[in-house]
C-alpha cells in the first residue's frame, strides 16, 4: 500500500478499499519500525488518527479531494500549531508556534493526515542532516550514509515509505540534494510561487518551500494546492497557475534540453556522469533535442551563494535572543550575557559559523567587497541563466557531484562541504524552478539524481518532462531494502 502513487491511494480511499485510519496505522507502524532512521523529530499518533478519522468522514460525505486522508509529514521548519516547531535546533526545542504556516493551512484544508515533523539540519543550514540537535538522519539505502540535507528527514521518510509525501525547503539545494541521495523526486518551485509565511527564515531571498514525493506525477498533484498568491508574503507572486496534473500528460513536442559542458568535470563521479548521459539518450528518444551550452559563471555560484545566504541568515537569526521565546540561558549576569549565552547555548556549530560569516560580510569595511560584490554577481548569474533558458527549454545535469557520503565525515576545511552544492545553488540565486529525479544506481547501490532547471514559472514543463521520463524508466520505482520490511 505504501508504494502506491498518491492518486492510487486516493482512489483506494474513495473506493473504500482501505480507510484513512487504516492507512495511517500502516504508516505509523512503519515509522516506529524504522525509528533508527531518526527521520522524525515529533510524531503524534493520536492526532494523526484523529485527522484520519475526520478525513474518512469527508470521503464518506463525498467531500473528499485528491489529498484527503493522505498521510504526510512537514519538515520541522514549517510552523504548525500542533506539535512543536524546532528547526532541528536546541534554540527552538520546546517552541510551540501559535500559528500555522500558509503551506500548512493549505494542505490542512485538503484534509491531509499529518503524521509528524521531520528532522532537518539546524535552521536549514547543511547538506547532510548531521547538524540537527536531534541527531543525524540515516539514509534508508545505507544506514552508514547521510540522506543529504537540510531536508534529510523529509527525504528519508518519503524514501522509506514512512509517509506518502513530505514538505521541505530549499535555499541552496536542500530539497534536491536529499532527493538525489535518497532516490526520490524533489521539487524546488520558482521563488515566489509558494508562500514563505510561516516557514522559518534562513536566507529570505533564497528560501523556497517545496515538496518531496515518489514521482513527478505526485509532485504535480500536490503543487496545485500550494502554488498561490499569499498576501501575508510580500514576495509572493500573484499570477494564475496552470493545471499541473493535466499538463504533465501533454505530449513532449520539440523540447530543447540544454547540457552545460561545465557540469561534466572531474569531481563528478563517473557513475553520475554516465547516468546523465543515459538520461540524455532517454530524452532524445522522447523527442527532445539536446543542445550543448556553456555556463561561464558556474564557478561563481557557490561563493556568491554563501556570501548572500550567510549575510541574510545572520540577520534572520537575530530574533533568537532568549527574550520572548526559545532557549534562554540560566547563566547570565547582565542583559548582554543573557543574549550571548542564550545564543551560545542554543545554536550549533554550523549555525554559529554562518552567522559569524554573514556578520563579517555585512560589516563596515567588508560590505562592498563581499556583500555588494555578491549581489552584483548574483544579477549576472541570473541574467546568464535566463539567457540560456531562451535558447533551451530546460537545463539538464547532475544534481550532485557524488552520491550519498558516509556519516561522520569531517573535512578539514568546512567550505569543502559547500562545494557539494555546486549544481544546486544556481537555481536559488536566479529564483528558477528545479527538479531532481532518480536516474540510476551507482556501483555501491546508491541512488543517483539528475536535475532539471526551468525558466521562471515553468514548473509544468519540468514536471511534464520528468513524468514522461518516469514512464519510460524504472528508477523512481526503486525502493531501499530496509531491515525489518516484509519481503
Amino acid at each position: 500500500m505504501n508504494d502506491q502513487s498518491i492518486t492510487a491511494l486516493s482512489q483506494a480511499l474513495t473506493a473504500k478499499t482501505i480507510s484513512a485510519v487504516e492507512l495511517t496505522h500502516d504508516y505509523l507502524k512503519r515509522i516506529r519500525q524504522h525509528s533508527e532512521l531518526n527521520a522524525f523529530i515529533s510524531v503524534d499518533e493520536d492526532l494523526a488518527l484523529h485527522s484520519a478519522k475526520a478525513a474518512d468522514q469527508r470521503i464518506q460525505q463525498g467531500l473528499g479531494g485528491a489529498l484527503t486522508g493522505i498521510p504526510m509529514a512537514h519538515k520541522d521548519i514549517f510552523c504548525t500549531q500542533v506539535l512543536r516547531t524546532t528547526c532541528g535546533s536546541k534554540m527552538l526545542e520546546h517552541f510551540q508556534s501559535p500559528y500555522d504556516a500558509t503551506l500548512v493551512q493549505d494542505l490542512e484544508k485538503q484534509s491531509v493526515v499529518l503524521l509528524g515533523k521531520t528532522n532537518m539540519d539546524e535552521f536549514a543550514m547543511g547538506s547532510t542532516n548531521e547538524s540537527s540537535y536531534f541527531g543525524p538522519v540515516k539514509n534508508p539505502w545505507d544506514l552508514t550514509r547521510v540522506p543529504g540535507g537540510s531536508s534529510g528527514g523529509s527525504a528519508a521518510a518519503v524514501s522509506a515509505s514512512l509517509c506518502a509525501f513530505a514538505t521541505a525547503s530549499d535555499t541552496g539545494g536542500s530539497i534536491r540534494q536529499p532527493a538525489a541521495f535518497c532516490g526520490i523526486s524533489g521539487l524546488k518551485p520558482t521563488y515566489g510561487l509558494v508562500s514563505r509565511y510561516g516557514m522559518v527564515a534562513f536566507a529570505s531571498s533564497l528560501d523556497t518551500a517545496g515538496l518531496l514525493a515518489r514521482s513527478a506525477e505526485d509532485l504535480a498533484l500536490i503543487l496545485q494546492y500550494v502554488a498561490r498568491h499569499d498576501e501575508k508574503d510580500s514576495t509572493s507572486i500573484s499570477s494564475s497557475t496552470p493545471d499541473y496534473l493535466k499538463s504533465i500528460h501533454a505530449p513532449i513536442d520539440r523540447l530543447k534540453v540544454g547540457l552545460p559542458r561545465r557540469f561534466f568535470h572531474d569531481d563528478v563521479e563517473p557513475d553520475i556522469q554516465q547516468a546523465v548521459l543515459d538520461a540524455v539518450h532517454q530524452f532524445e528518444q522522447m523527442g527532445a533535442t539536446i543542445v550543448e551550452l556553456d555556463l561561464p559563471l558556474l564557478s561563481q555560484w557557490v561563493p556568491c551563494y554563501y556570501v548572500l545566504a550567510c549575510a541574510e541568515a545572520s540577520s534572520n537569526l537575530s530574533r533568537y535572543d532568549g527574550i520572548r521565546f526559545g532557549h534562554r540561558s540560566a547563566h547570565h549576569d547582565s542583559l548582554r550575557e543573557l543574549i550571548t549565552q542564550s545564543r551560545n547555548e542554543g545554536f550549533g556549530l554550523e549555525v554559529k559559523r554562518r552567522i559569524l560569516t554573514g556578520t563579517h560580510v555585512l560589516s563596515a569595511g567588508y560590505y562592498d567587497d563581499y556583500y555588494m560584490q555578491a549581489q552584483k554577481v548574483r544579477r549576472l548569474i541570473r541574467d546568464e541563466c535566463r539567457q540560456v533558458l531562451t535558447q533551451v527549454d530546460v537545463i539538464l545535469g547532475p544534481t550532485t557531484p557524488t552520491c550519498a557520503f558516509s556519516l561522520g565525515q569531517k573535512p578539514t576545511n568546512p567550505t569543502q562541504t559547500y562545494l557539494a552544492d555546486i549544481f544546486t545553488v544556481g537555481a536559488n540565486l536566479a529564483g528558477l524552478p528545479a527538479l531532481s529525479i532518480p536516474a540510476g544506481i551507482n556501483a555501491s547501490g546508491l541512488p543517483i539524481g539528475i536535475q532539471l532547471i526551468g525558466a521562471h514559472f515553468d514548473e509544468a514543463r519540468l514536471l511534464q518532462l520528468a513524468h514522461h521520463y518516469q514512464q519510460q524508466t524504472p528508477w523512481h520505482a526503486m525502493r531501499p531494502d530496509l531491515k525489518g520490511d516484509e519481503l
Partner: protein, 477 residues
C-alpha cells in the same frame, strides 16, 4: 572668540495610521501591554512584513508639502542591533534611498524675519517597543505595543543657528504635520520626538565642530532650555582648551542641565542591507498626482489668505492655526454667516474658548455646532441682534439645542411680556429719584442716561437698553 552654534534636528513623527507599518495590529496609544502586538510585531519565527500603503501615502504627502523629491523605487533596509524592545534584532528602516529627499520649510522668527530650513530627507521606519524599568522591582518589562508603529524620520541639514530657530522650526513642522493630518503631534505620548545635534565652531569657520546629541526631551520648552545649556557647556569646554566628547546626552529638567547617556564611540555598526522580504516602493504617477491634488490646505497658505482676504492680525491667525479643528470651525462659520473674520475670531478666542476651557474641552469636540454659531454671529453682524442679546443667547446655546431663531423669538416675546415688570422697575426708579425726574422734565435730557443706568443695574444688565430708554421716555413724560 565669537562662537557659532550649529544645530541639526531629527524628528521622529508617528504616523496616524490605523495599523502598524508592516502588520495589521492597531496603533492606539495606552492599551494594556502587549495587547496590540501580533505575531509579526513580536518577530516570531516565520513571520513576514507587509507594507501599510497608507503610511506611504502620508510620507508622500509630507514630501509634497515641503516641495521635496519623492523617490520612486525607494526601498527598505535592515538596521541590525540587539535590544530587548527590538523583537527581530533589526529595525526595518530606509537608509541609502529614502522616499523623500531635499525639501525645505520656511519659518518665521520673532523679529519678523523668515528663514528657509533645508530638510535633507524623510524616511519611513518602524518604531521599537518600550522597556519599562520602573514597572517591577526585579525586572524590566517589555511592552511591544509600540513595536512596528510607522515613523517618519525627518532630518534637517545642520543649518540651524540658535535655540530660537530650532524651536521655531520644530513648532512649524509640528503644525504642518498636524494640518496634513498625518501625525497628532502629541509629545507626551511620544508621537513627535526630537533629537538635537549640536556643535560649536568659531564664527567664520566652515569646518563643523564635534557634536553631541540630545535625546528624549519631550517638550518645546525643555528642548529650548537643553539647547541653551548645551551651547554654554560646549563654549565653556572649548574656551578652556578642552575637547568635546562625542556622546549622547539627556536633559534633566530638575537641574536644568544635560547629562551623559551613552558614548558615540561604541556606536554599533548597523550592517545595513536591503530587506529581502519587501519589494521596492513603487509610486505610480496617477496616485502621485491624486495626492498632490488632494493635499489639504497648508498653514503657510492659510496664513497668507487669512491676512489678505480676511484681514486678520498675526495673533488672531496664530490662534486660528493652533489646530486644524479651530481653523475648520472658523471657516465653516465664516462661510455660513458672512460675518467679518475679526468678529468671529473675537467670539471664538473669547467666549467660546472660555466655555470650552471651563468644561475641559477643546476645539476637537463640539460644544455649540458651527452652523448654530454662524446664525447667531450672522445676525450680530447685520445688527439684527444686539451684543447683550447675543451674549444671552450664547449662554443659552451652551445648554440648549433650541435654534438661534427660536431663542431670539423667545427673547423678544419675553421682552414684551417682561415689559410690565420692567415698567414697574422704571416707575420705582422714577419715584425714588424725584429731583432728577423733575430736572429731566425741565429739559436736562442728559439725565435719561442716569435713569437707564439705574434700571440696567436693577435688572442686572439683562434688560434691553434701547427698550429701557424708550419706556423711560414714555414714563418721564
Amino acid at each position: 572668540m565669537i562662537w557659532e552654534t550649529v544645530i541639526g534636528l531629527e524628528v521622529h513623527a508617528q504616523l496616524s495610521t490605523q495599523s502598524k507599518l508592516f502588520s495589521n495590529a492597531p496603533t492606539q496609544y495606552g492599551a494594556p501591554p502587549n495587547t496590540q502586538t501580533n505575531y509579526v510585531d513580536a518577530g516570531l519565527p516565520g513571520v513576514l512584513p507587509v507594507l501599510n500603503q497608507r503610511a506611504v501615502q502620508m510620507a508622500i504627502q509630507f514630501g509634497l508639502a515641503i516641495q521635496a523629491t519623492i523617490y520612486n523605487n525607494s526601498y527598505f533596509e535592515r538596521k541590525n542591533y540587539f535590544y530587548p524592545d527590538l523583537p527581530k534584532g533589526y529595525q526595518i528602516s530606509q537608509f541609502q534611498r529614502p522616499i523623500v529627499s531635499q525639501g525645505h520649510l520656511d519659518i518665521l522668527l520673532s523679529d519678523g524675519t523668515s528663514r528657509t530650513i533645508d530638510i535633507d530627507r524623510a524616511h519611513l521606519e518602524e518604531d521599537a517597543g518600550k522597556s519599562l524599568h520602573e514597572a517591577h522591582a526585579n525586572y524590566t518589562g517589555i511592552d511591544l505595543n509600540r513595536a512596528g508603529t510607522p515613523l517618519l524620520e525627518i532630518v534637517t541639514t545642520p543649518c540651524l543657528r540658535s535655540a530660537e530657530e530650532a524651536i521655531c522650526y520644530l513648532k512649524t513642522l509640528h503644525q504642518l504635520l498636524r494640518f496634513l493630518g498625518i501625525c497628532d503631534g502629541n509629545m507626551q505620548e511620544g508621537s513627535f520626538r526630537c533629537d538635537v545635534n549640536l556643535s560649536l565652531r568659531p564664527q567664520g569657520d566652515s569646518k563643523l565642530g564635534t557634536r553631541t546629541e540630545l535625546k528624549n526631551i519631550n517638550s518645546f520648552r525643555f528642548i529650548e532650555k537643553a539647547i541653551l545649556f548645551e551651547q554654554l557647556r560646549h563654549q565653556d569646554l572649548l574656551e578652556s582648551g578642552q575637547v568635546i566628547v562625542q556622546e549622547t546626552r539627556l536633559y534633566n529638567p530638575d537641574k536644568n542641565q544635560t547629562e551623559h547617556m551613552r558614548s558615540k564611540e561604541n556606536e554599533n555598526d548597523y550592517r545595513y542591507f536591503p530587506d529581502p522580504d519587501l519589494l521596492p516602493i513603487q509610486i505610480n504617477p496617477s496616485e502621485l498626482a491624486f495626492l498632490k491634488d488632494t493635499l489639504p490646505p497648508l498653514p503657510a497658505d492659510m496664513t497668507k489668505r487669512l491676512k489678505e482676504s480676511d484681514a486678520l492680525a498675526d495673533d488672531h491667525i496664530d490662534f486660528l492655526l493652533t489646530s486644524p479643528s479651530v481653523i475648520s470651525f472658523y471657516n465653516t462659520i465664516k462661510d455660513k454667516s458672512g460675518a467679518p473674520g475679526k468678529l468671529i475670531v473675537n467670539w471664538l478666542k473669547g467666549a467660546y474658548a472660555a466655555a470650552l476651557n471651563e468644561r475641559g474641552l477643546t476645539f476637537d469636540e463640539t460644544l455649540i455646532p458651527a452652523d448654530t454659531l454662524a446664525v447667531m454671529l450672522g445676525k450680530l453682524a447685520d445688527n439684527s441682534l444686539s451684543n447683550t442679546s447675543a451674549k444671552k443667547i450664547f449662554n443659552q446655546l451652551l445648554t440648549s439645542t433650541v435654534s438661534v431663531n427660536d431663542l431670539i423669538a423667545a427673547e423678544q416675546s419675553s421682552q414684551l411680556t417682561d415689559t410690565s415688570e420692567l415698567e414697574a422697575i422704571i416707575r420705582t426708579m422714577i419715584n425714588n429719584n424725584p429731583q432728577q425726574a423733575a430736572e429731566y422734565r425741565a429739559g436736562k435730557d442728559k439725565l435719561l442716561g442716569f435713569f437707564v443706568g439705574l434700571v440696567m443695574k436693577q435688572t442686572k444688565g439683562t434688560a434691553e437698553p434701547s427698550l429701557v430708554s424708550a419706556l423711560l421716555i414714555q414714563h418721564l413724560m
